[in-house]
Structure formats: C-alpha cells, structure tokens
Subunit: 263 residues, 2 copies
C-alpha cells in the first residue's frame, strides 16, 4: 500500500525582490528553474516579505520622525524609536507595550511591532506587512491561475511569537484559493462518537511547515510549494483567523483592569 | 537542480491502542506495512493520544466525583462537571475559567481543559495527556533506536487553541532526539545584516504540519514520519517551550488585576 504523503518543495532561486517587481512571473521562473512541474492543488506558501517588497511597502528610516508616544515606548523598553513609530502607524491598537510591543494592525492581525521588520530589508530600511494581505494573496492567485490554468492555493506567511509558548512560528496572514479552516464537526471519531466541534486552522499549519524550509536569515527561500494536501476553497480568508476583540481573553483582562483602575 | 524537499508520510495502519500495548513495536509494524524504509534523521510525529492510551492515561467518567469547585466552573460555563474535575486534577493553576477552561498542567503546558479530551476515547472515558510527555518521548526514542539502530527524532503532539487566533493547531508537547528550537542569531540575512535574535520553535512547526495528515476525527493516522528536515539534537525538550510565568503577559495582567482589585 502506498502511504499518503505530503511534500514541501523549496524554491531557492528567487532573486532579491524590489518594489514593482512582477512577483508571479519571478516565482514561475523559479519553479521552471527548479525542474518542478506544477499540478492541480499545489499550494504556494509565500513569505509576506517578498510580497511587501514587490508592493513597495519599504520605508527608509531617515524619512521617519518618531512621535512623542513612540519615543516614550522606545525609551521605557530600550527599543528603536523609528521601529516603534512605524509599528504605531501600522496599528489600530496597542495591546501591550511593557517589554514587548504587541499591536493590532489595520488588517486585524495581533503581532509584535505590527509586523514591521528589519531582517532581510535593505540597510537603513524597514519592511512593513502588505497593507491587505488577503487581497495580495487573491491578486497573486489570480495571476498564477492566469499563467498556469491550474487551481492552486496561496498562503502568505510571517513568523510571529506566541503569548504562552517560546519561539517564533510561521502563521498565515493572507490566503486565497484555500479556506482558512478545516471543520471536523459531525465526523465520527475512532470509536464512532460524533465530534461536536474541532475546527482546525489549516492555513496556519501549512504556514508553519513551510518555515523550516524558508528559514529566517539569508537562506533565500521565500516560496515553498506544498503538494498532496487536499483542501477546499471557500469564502474564508486569513482575516477570519483573527479572534474578534470580544473573544480575546487577553484584552478582556486589559479592559477589566482599566475599569478597576478607574474605580 | 533538484529542489530541497521535505516529505511527510502518514502511517494509517495503526490499530486502536489499549493500555499496556507495546507502542513502538506497533508503530514499526505499521512502517513495514506501509512499505516505507526508515532513514537516518526521520522524525516521528506521534499523536499524544496513542501515547496516553498505551500508558493507561484513561479515566472512566463514572469513577469521578466532581468537587464543588469543578461543579461551580461547569455550571457557570455549561461544561461537563466530570471533564472540569479531571482538568482541575491535571492542573497546577487555572488561568481562565470564563467561557473557557485554560489551565497550566503539571508538566507546565498551558492549554484548554489540561488537554483532557473525549474525542477518540472509548465511550464514557476521558483521555489525559501523558504525565511527563518529554519523558514519554525519550522512552519512545530509546526503543525506536534499539529496534532500528538509526538516529531519529520523536515529537509528541496535541491540538490546541490560541489566545489571538481562531482554530486549533497541533503543537509539540514532548520531544526527544531533536532540539525544541532553531537559532538564527548570528546568521547573515539576504542583505548581509547579522540577525540579533530570531529563535524558531521548530518542533511546533513540525507538529503543525503533521496535523493535516493526522486529522482530528476517525482518520486513524496517529503517526506521521517527516523526512528531509535537517535538525540538531540537544538538551532542549518541549517543556522548554512553555513560557515561564514571569514572561507571560497574560498572567501578569491577571495578577495585576488581582492587586488592583485588592487596593
């Protein structure tokens, strides 16, 4: 019997991306160069960094004047004021600025420094996350489909920390052609008991697996293709993974704290 | 040029595990049946549920009398009192019991209901997490090495929720033969800038990727073998992934809340 397998393939011949570069053409050239033949159902896991760069989401440090708020947060925590300023500009809310800078971005993602990052950025520059990662994923998928005539999935990824677990993991910040979740509700378990719930964030799991191939440093692997994973397409995107504020235990505490502090 | 690939292989001929079953022999029989030949460096990602079952970590609901505390939490949240009681017994601290039951287990893991679960458990029974998942992983690795004479990695996994992101993902609750983290500090990025930090939780990323093959229902795939991922062995295990209390922003809030409430 042939076992079920899933394969992840690293595309390591993608050059450094610059603003305005035609990302999909560059990715498809790298696919060709790798000798890998695309199939129906292949999933492109793409580092959000190259998407940001192609979209021109790069800021020169010298063009930024940090606000008083940014300077205050930077001083209290030993952070770079420019980095803090950019994180604040990219955010709608600061979740915590004590020893960390965790924010909610305009697209609803909760992450460190609004995902603003200096690694793999040109000297003296910062890379911001794509403005609307789900829209970016849709655009990439549309172009991939146009060029290949295949049904594919696209997941844009970024590495992030977790409140209760040490170390970064890749998560999905945008997706297209693949549903964010896989639903197990109603399926029987090994003993025939019907599962009442159990919703899995499949895009985060696929994102996580691509990281070991991508790396965080100069590995030069911004795209990983996953083959053999069966998935459904639907209306859900990565934005649907962000827990709404009213379900967020952490922020509920913060707000209650506020109430108590006032009373 | 041959692209770098990582392959995940599902072992789908493992029978339902009962207390006392020789887990490693059963897994190796399934490997043989699958026609897959083990190599140096293969990583066994194993559902903690079959480890628990083989270790007899199963409790009959009818043998449990819920405490007053458990009944209170169950009543306020519409939970099953027996499930709450077991979660409390398996915990050292309740992190939140408002709409959820998030606890810290004896082994330091922060999770829902201390990982106590009814899915894929025999009728009227609950499966607890392995008592010391890192030790279980070490034992499994030792037996695998004895039988195969290969250097392998072992990761025990469980699916868990996240504070800021919806949907479950697999995380590593035990490991052996593979370090928990991969360190990028000191590596140059694409532009030659040296990374100052960036520690990746590689065991969580490998755990996450195995889930799509394992499933949560009656798929009957409790073991996935990952091949092609290069890793270092070291002294770190999955227990080192648990963020210590003093770094836990969430609990810091809870405690501060307590202080304010008292003042």
């Amino acid at each position: 019997m042939t076992p079920i397998t899933v394969v992840a393939v690293a595309l390591d011949s993608i050059p450094i991306i610059k603003p305005g570069d035609p990302l999909v053409s560059i990715i498809l050239e790298a696919v060709e160069e790798s000798g890998f033949n695309l199939n129906e159902g292949d999933i492109f896991v793409i580092s959000s960094k190259i998407v940001s760069k192609s979209e021109g989401r790069i800021v020169k440090a010298c063009s930024i004047i940090p606000s008083r708020e940014a300077k205050g947060i930077a001083e209290r925590n030993g952070f770079d004021p420019t980095h803090v300023e950019l994180a604040l500009r990219e955010s709608v809310e600061v979740i915590s600025s004590k020893g960390v800078l965790i924010t909610e971005t305009h697209s609803g993602l909760i992450c460190n420094f609004s995902g603003v990052d200096r690694s793999n950025a040109p000297d003296g520059e910062y890379v911001l996350l794509p403005k609307n990662p789900d829209q970016s994923a849709e655009r990439i998928l549309r172009d991939l489909r146009k060029e290949t005539d295949l049904n594919l999935g696209v997941i844009l990824v970024d590495s992030q920390g977790r409140p209760w677990r040490k170390g970064l993991v890749n998560v999905a910040i945008g997706c297209a052609g693949i549903n964010a979740f896989k639903y197990n509700k109603g399926k029987p378990d090994l003993h025939g008991r019907i599962l009442k719930r159990s919703t899995v964030c499949q895009i985060d799991e696929l994102a996580a697996f691509a990281e070991p191939l991508m790396g965080q440093a100069g590995e030069g692997v911004p795209v990983v293709i996953i083959r053999g994973y069966e998935f459904a397409d639907g209306s859900e995107n990565a934005g649907d993974v962000n827990r709404p504020k009213e379900e967020d235990l952490f922020r509920q505490q913060t707000e209650k704290r506020g109430e108590w502090a006032q009373s």
